[in-house]
Subunit: 109 residues, 2 copies
């Protein structure tokens, strides 16, 4: 189980990654995360939707309504230029973070 204190701050990156190729919506993103990680990480619904709100507030994603004529209306999100920039920076930060934390990890029986 991955603790929420560790993934914190990377949920945004996970979401942005999934919007790189094409716009998407909550439920689909949620499923994709589970699939990609083989259920090793399951993002909570509330975490996901509050991340959407935060990302949109910061201008990293933009929402629009889908054209479904049946079923509950979906809110789609697409990544912005700023979002792409933010994603790139966070990826670089991740490389640094990995190396820093690795210095405090020991392989033990």
């Amino acid at each position: 189980m991955i603790s929420s204190d560790i993934i914190r701050g990377y949920n945004d990156i996970i979401i942005l990654y999934l919007l790189l190729e094409d716009s998407s919506y909550g439920y689909e993103i949620s499923k994709n995360i589970r699939q990609i990680t083989n259920e090793e990480y399951v993002m909570k619904e509330t975490t996901l939707y509050s991340a959407f709100a935060r990302l949109e507030k910061n201008g990293y994603i933009q929402s629009f309504f889908g054209e479904e004529t049946q079923g509950k209306r979906r809110t789609y999100y697409k990544i912005t230029q700023e979002g792409l920039q933010y994603y790139k920076e966070k990826c670089e930060e991740w490389e640094v973070t990995k190396e820093v934390i690795n210095k405090f990890i020991k392989e033990m029986g």
Copy 2:
């Protein structure tokens, strides 16, 4: 700069790592972190001391007073069996976390 949301949850591990070899105290641990990471990560004082309190409350470290007869009295900490166990588990969790997050990271120009 490593964001606090990313390192969150690993501050405990950093501290425990530094207590593996020998007991130590706040100021020394703080200096060691800076040195080991070449100033890439500097743990805030309040973060450090609140982590001590949490770790002791959870039984992962034990405090005792140093024998300095001059200067301000130091509070030393040593790792417990439970702390060692916790450290090991977190190291294993780290390996999983790394792989999970790596799936959402892209190398980009």
